[in-house]
Symmetry: C3
Subunit: 311 residues, 3 copies
């Protein structure tokens, strides 16, 4: 399979993932080697939803490759307010650029948009749908810290609504991993995701669900924490009670392996206490920073050969 | 006449237009020849009104010439909210840049601003006034598709309020063109524009007004469609009735010449059905994309010699 | 003292200031010598408050050094709205960039942020606190027009709330200057600032306060005018009466020395009549433009050696 677009992490095979991560590692080891590699190339940024780190990270990646970006700006300042369709917007902007990055509140937007354009399109999040570059930087961070084979990972927090979590779980199922999902009952993984993961694993039973972190903490190589959002709960007191049980601080981590890597897609609110930041466990800022080499690798592969792999 | 600024298409002679379009064609044929031509040059973007394609197109053009932009950002995030005059704003920002692009809601703003600055200033639309770079890209698209001599063009839609249309009509009157204006009676060309066009044509009767497209469709080389805005009508039902009569779809185009070129300044809403996009007639995305070589040509001429022509 | 960050003008010694101003003068004399000096370097722009000239001026400075910027954008479009702390935001973005510029509404924000990052951080204004790059460009403009030794300067307008004014006064006290402060009684310099200035001057009595410009106008080498804001007054009529007494026009300036330099941090509203703009006195647009070489000098010093001085 050849990818001219990067829309979903579901379509990325193990070989695809490794191609991207290997290239990212090369780039991270010697960024100066690619500093002019895509001089003159332009990346179009189409963010129909607010974003700080994803957008900045793409912009940084393109500039670190010697290229530049053009940014549609906020929806409020664009023609979208005049009733233009997404299809028309992407068709106009693709004519200005060599590749496009799209974030959109509607699931499926990236797939639809990709059908109208000839330049590579990267999905930077489509509503409750996919966010494949986040998944790739998560995988890169896991590989750098704990390896992707014979991995025991705990994924904790809001597992029901978190697209980050679903994408990561699907991608990890291509590797030899044991996945523990830790959440309050009301925020468990959707049953169809659990079913898909079992199918994808070919009958291996690498998936377990828990309501308490203590049950598995000592076994974990990686703990991936996500935010539990207030608006998922009927009232404040219920939220506080639940959220409090899924917070990480130094005391929590006393039961962890010394090699544990703690990750978080950020922004965090109260899920991880600031006192954890200076410990050896904390990898969440490194994880955010890894967005740059990973997106550099993706852009480099798409702009150089027109595809992530050429199997 | 020498142009250090590009404020209005009225001041652009036929020779000026041809200089710009010829340069744009050269650039479009071999963009790599100018990829570093203005390295180090900075273009200031001052958009006091929202814009997607004009702003992105200028930004792309400058970057495709090896230069870069600095963007004032939205009015809400600028000193304008502290009561600064336009004259002060442009005088400050010209000190940072090698050229300025200004869009402003007030007619005449670009003329006024140009009196305060020493760097070249390009008008990217001033209210109901001029939008000369749109006119130049329209002319470029017409020339590429149908030629500018012995041209029969239909201009349809809101002809009363559309600055795009007035600018285009004035510019076309420098060439050997027959212009058909098709609109509901309430949105006809203003009488003074008709008068000016007759004057400019020196008595030739190259101008005709119609209420129905069928009357002339078969004769047209180019059909230029513009949007009819809901807010021009006292009620929704009146709008729907009128707008519906000026929409283009595949059935409409059965009566057209096979060589017809359909243009639209975009964004469109319902004026042209999506089913037209894949036909040979459709040139509106190409038209939007032509904004880049045309603006590259203008910027190149202004930054290289300090003027569009030196007659 | 060595500065890896530029947080406050209080910490800048006379030698530090001269290092920056000398470098700025070199750059202004031959900007082409540094046009590629920091190619590939990225400056992160974190503006938590609106700004036009400071932000554009930093962006221009970085690009004139061959570098580029990545801009967090407005707070509304960022993760800040999801409750992220400033510490987390700067730690993420520092991983993308080689230096950071921060403007924030809270006094002390820059100091706090600088404790979390390894790349140089420049304070572009923190609420009622410091704005050291404004001070440096003010000093540069004064030095170019009147010299910094044996200087008699009048600082007029809102002296109570104006951070620009306080920073400038502190910085000038490192030089041999006589400072006259002219304001309505209700907008006098805070007593603690007066005290600090006396202390800093080591007993020299280089500070005088006045309520009327006429008392000192004839003696001044430089008159630095700031805006008196309507919201400082209980009612409109009181504001009008006071503001009117502190406005400068050609008539006012008849009593000035021919060599007087009039400065203003801009944006101005009514403090200086437009008729003054074309006189030899006016240096406020030059002052705004000086933001570029001064910020180029600072960025160059920070990016080249990791510090403004290495005493």
């Amino acid at each position: 399979m050849r990818h001219d677009h990067v829309i979903t992490s579901k379509h990325l095979s193990r070989a695809d993932v490794e191609t991207v991560l290997d290239r990212a590692a090369e780039i991270a080891a010697d960024p100066s080697a690619v500093a002019d590699r895509h001089a003159g190339a332009l990346l179009g940024l189409l963010f129909f939803e607010p974003s700080t780190r994803t957008k900045l990270s793409f912009e940084t990646a393109m500039k670190r490759l010697g290229g530049d970006v053009v940014d549609m700006g906020s929806v409020e300042s664009s023609s979208v307010t005049k009733g233009e369709t997404l299809a028309d917007t992407v068709r106009v902007i693709e004519g200005y650029t060599d590749a496009l990055v799209l974030r959109h509140p509607k699931e499926g937007a990236a797939t639809m948009a990709s059908e109208f354009v000839d330049v590579p399109l990267l999905n930077a999040g489509d509503g409750a749908g996919q966010h494949p570059t986040q998944t790739l930087l998560d995988l890169y961070t896991i590989r750098e810290n704990a390896g992707l084979d014979d991995l025991t990972i705990g994924i904790m927090g809001d597992l029901k609504y978190g697209r980050t979590v679903h994408s990561l779980a699907y991608a990890l199922s291509n590797f030899d991993t044991r996945q523990h999902f830790i959440s309050p009952e009301s925020l468990q993984l959707p049953r169809e995701v659990v079913y898909d993961l079992h199918q994808q694993q070919g009958g291996r039973t690498g998936i377990r669900e828990h309501q308490r972190l203590e049950a598995v903490l000592g076994d974990l190589d990686v703990l991936y924490v996500t935010r539990i959002q207030r608006e998922r709960f009927p009232d404040e007191s219920e939220y506080r009670k639940v959220a409090g049980e899924y917070q990480i601080d130094r005391e929590t981590l006393e039961a962890a392996s010394d090699d544990l890597t703690v990750m978080h897609p950020l922004p965090r609110v109260d899920e991880i206490a600031p006192e954890v930041d200076d410990t050896e466990y904390a990898a969440y800022f490194e994880q955010a920073h890894n967005g740059v080499p990973v997106r550099m690798a993706l852009l480099d592969l798409l702009l150089s050969e027109g595809g992530v792999s050429d199997e």
